[in-house]
């Protein structure tokens, strides 16, 4: 039985088991039908031209974990930003772990989606926001059909969340292969501020395929910083679809750090509904072996006087492959726009590949849109300069790669996270940089 067939037949059993989430029951039925019609995306589709899911779809995934697994905090401490106090929403094999989590309902809700779907008091929020910005793409529909668990974050107007929120999904390897469908809903009220860090972490070599969907709503003057850490094992694959709806004067940044995993596909979609929105999309990708990362971004400018800034840097070694497909869509009313897109890539090995495709579709006549894309090797003159100062070839390469990726880190607003990412980069490059990070 193909994975698609297995999912569709599993859905019937799943439906029986879900009694409690009536507000979205119809959505689920609609979503599974959409998935059934569209199926998994193939390379024939323009948006999937350079990323094939075929090898992932051959695995015999469990759709639901058979048993609950528990893990000790000390074993996974390193995956948290443990130097600072944070809210934590933690899932182990797709199941909420109250033991590892630190949630709150005091003046805001930082908790789980299953609670929000089952309790009446959350019904108005669910009805207003759930699945309202997510699009009817087949994988998103698949998630909607099965989504039962994930983070639920609701920040009321004028609330500044004083601690970062960590959303962490662990996979223990309790199943031979597992498919997960986490679903996050983030609603940030007027003039409210929040910082969120999301991570998917496999703890064993058993294959896992995560099909994650996150919806983010930024109300007027909301300020959101979202950080995605993708540094998983070579057995783990991730399809991450994030949809962001911005109202006027809101600022929303997403930083994506892609350092590890078998296959990662990031669908990052912004929709600017109000004036004076600012959307910031940044990424650092450092790959080796046969890793594959595909960044598929969309910034849809609907209202005038907005800005968007995209800056993605990639370093590709061995036989790794990268894709950057960045689309900026400007509707005719989105005048006085300033949209900037930059994508720079370095190929370390002759066998590494990058496919970069910037796309601008502009229907307004008074806008400023710029894009730049480079693909190259490390600068030989710079290498000679560093080596002539006594710095060995390997260190010199590392220093240049570090320098290349560095400006993307400047906008990371959590110092401990910035330090952590710096260390991950140093480790990924495989040398100690020899100076304070």
């Amino acid at each position: 039985m193909s994975l698609k067939d297995k999912l569709i037949s599993s859905y019937l059993a799943f439906e029986d088991y879900l009694q409690e989430d009536s507000p979205i029951h119809e959505l689920r039925n609609h979503a599974i039908k959409n998935f059934e019609t569209k199926g998994f995306p193939s390379k024939k589709e323009e948006a999937w031209k350079y990323t094939s899911l075929n090898s992932l779809l051959k695995e015999d995934y469990s759709i639901f974990p058979k048993q609950e697994s528990s893990i000790e905090f000390k074993d996974v401490k390193k995956y948290f930003l443990h130097e600072v106090d944070t809210y934590k929403i933690v899932f182990v094999d797709g199941v909420y772990s109250s033991f590892l989590s630190s949630t709150t309902h005091e003046g805001m809700d930082i908790c789980l989606l299953s609670a929000a779907l089952s309790k009446d008091k959350y019904k108005p929020v669910i009805e207003t926001y759930f699945n309202k910005v997510a699009k009817e793409e087949s994988l998103t529909s698949l998630n909607t059909a099965f989504a039962k668990e994930g983070a639920y974050i609701y920040i009321p107007n004028h609330k500044e969340v004083e601690k970062p929120v960590e959303i962490v999904n662990f996979y223990t390897g309790s199943e031979a292969a597992l498919m997960l469908q986490p679903r996050n809903l983030v609603v940030v009220g007027e003039n409210a501020h929040i910082q969120i860090i999301e991570r998917h972490q496999s703890l064993s070599g058993n294959p896992v395929l995560t099909n994650s969907v996150t919806e983010i709503f930024a109300e007027k003057r909301a300020y959101i910083d979202y950080y995605k850490i993708q540094n998983d094992l070579p057995s783990a694959s991730l399809i991450d679809s994030t949809y962001i709806k911005q109202e006027r004067d809101s600022v929303c940044s997403v930083h994506t750090f892609s350092f590890g995993g078998k296959l990662i596909r990031n669908n990052l979609n912004y929709y600017q509904y109000g004036e004076h929105c600012d959307s910031i999309l940044k990424g650092i990708t450092i790959l080796e072996d046969k890793q594959h990362v595909d960044h598929n971004t969309l910034v849809h400018h609907i209202a005038p006087n907005c800005e968007s800034h995209q800056d993605y840097k990639g370093i590709f070694d061995d036989r790794s492959t990268g894709v950057f497909n960045g689309k900026v869509y400007v509707e005719k009313d989105a005048q006085k726009l300033d949209a900037f897109q930059q994508n720079n890539n370095i190929l370390i090995s002759d066998k590494a590949t990058i496919n970069a495709k910037p796309q601008l579709e502009i229907f307004a006549d008074d806008v400023k849109c710029s894009h730049g894309c480079t693909i190259g090797q490390l600068d030989e003159d710079a290498m000679f300069y560093l080596r002539s100062r006594g710095i060995g070839k390997k260190e010199a390469r590392a220093l240049l790669m570090y320098a290349f990726a560095n400006n993307v880190l400047e906008s990371v607003k959590i110092p401990e996270l910035k330090k952590r990412i710096n260390l991950l980069i140093a480790k990924k490059i495989g040398v100690s940089l020899g100076f304070d990070l």
Binding site: F384, Y385, L386, S388, R389, G390, Y402, G434
Partner: protein
């Protein structure tokens, strides 16, 4: 200290250096002058080990050891320093962190421990003062957004920190106003000792008023065609290079 015998070098099969002989002893300052395209910068790059150039003939000996096959970093570890004509910008790496890395990598290669942090700071402070460098400058990204003068001063700062046996200054005077030139020259002079040597590569005599050479060599079409003392530099300043070209032809 440095002995160069019949050095030939080419890039992409184009001969640039066509048989250079030069002997530099400890404590000496040699100036290499010549018109554009005569091979001055290539000469500096080749001595520092730039792999873009192929050494096709000849020997380069440092303290009697053939260094032709050594990597640039190995030459640096042996005490060769090149002050670049066009220093490279390295965003995200501060001047301080860069020099720390350079010094500790060199010490590691020499079998030494990292320089203690306190000693490093003291040295950085001392050398920055010597070159009239503002502390704020040290925490900026290496060469990024630096003016021409700042870049050159930073090169000499690195030289002061590394304390090389043989320093090669490639067009260090270009892009400097007279005040900056004096500061840089003064810095170089303070670093001179009976044990080390300096090769100054320049187009103009101006810098040589401040860093006074023991010998002046004229490089023309990849060969040293004339050598003399500092008076030769004045003669070149006055008369240009044409008379030497005539002399060589004759």
């Amino acid at each position: 200290m440095l002995q160069i015998k019949n050095l030939h070098a080419s890039v992409e099969d184009k001969d640039i250096l066509k048989g250079i002989d030069l002997h530099v002893k400890p404590g000496e300052v040699h100036a290499i002058m010549g018109p554009n395209g005569s091979g001055k910068s290539t000469f500096a790059s080749v001595i520092a080990g730039n792999e873009d150039f192929d050494v096709t003939q000849g020997d380069v000996l440092l303290d009697g050891e053939d260094i032709n096959e050594l990597d640039p970093e190995e030459r640096a570890h042996k005490g060769i320093f090149l002050s670049f004509q066009y220093p490279v910008e390295i965003p995200g790496v501060t001047v301080t962190n860069f020099i720390k890395t350079a010094i500790n990598e060199t010490r590691k290669a020499q079998g030494m421990e990292d320089m203690p942090a306190g000693e490093m700071l003291k040295k950085i402070k001392e050398k920055a003062d010597l070159l009239d460098i503002d502390r704020k400058f040290l925490s900026r990204s290496l060469n990024e957004g630096f003016s021409g003068g700042e870049k050159k001063r930073n090169e000499i700062f690195q030289m002061a920190m590394m304390e090389p046996k043989l320093a090669i200054l490639d067009e260090t005077d270009s892009g400097l106003d007279i005040d900056a030139l004096k500061i840089v020259a003064n810095g170089v002079n303070k670093l001179r000792s009976p044990e080390n040597a300096v090769i100054v590569i320049t187009h103009y005599q101006r810098l040589l008023d401040y860093i006074v050479p023991d010998f002046v060599h004229v490089l023309l079409d990849g060969k040293i065609v004339k050598s003399g003392t500092k008076e030769l530099a004045y003669e070149l300043e006055e008369k240009g290079y044409d008379w030497i070209k005539e002399e060589v032809k004759a």
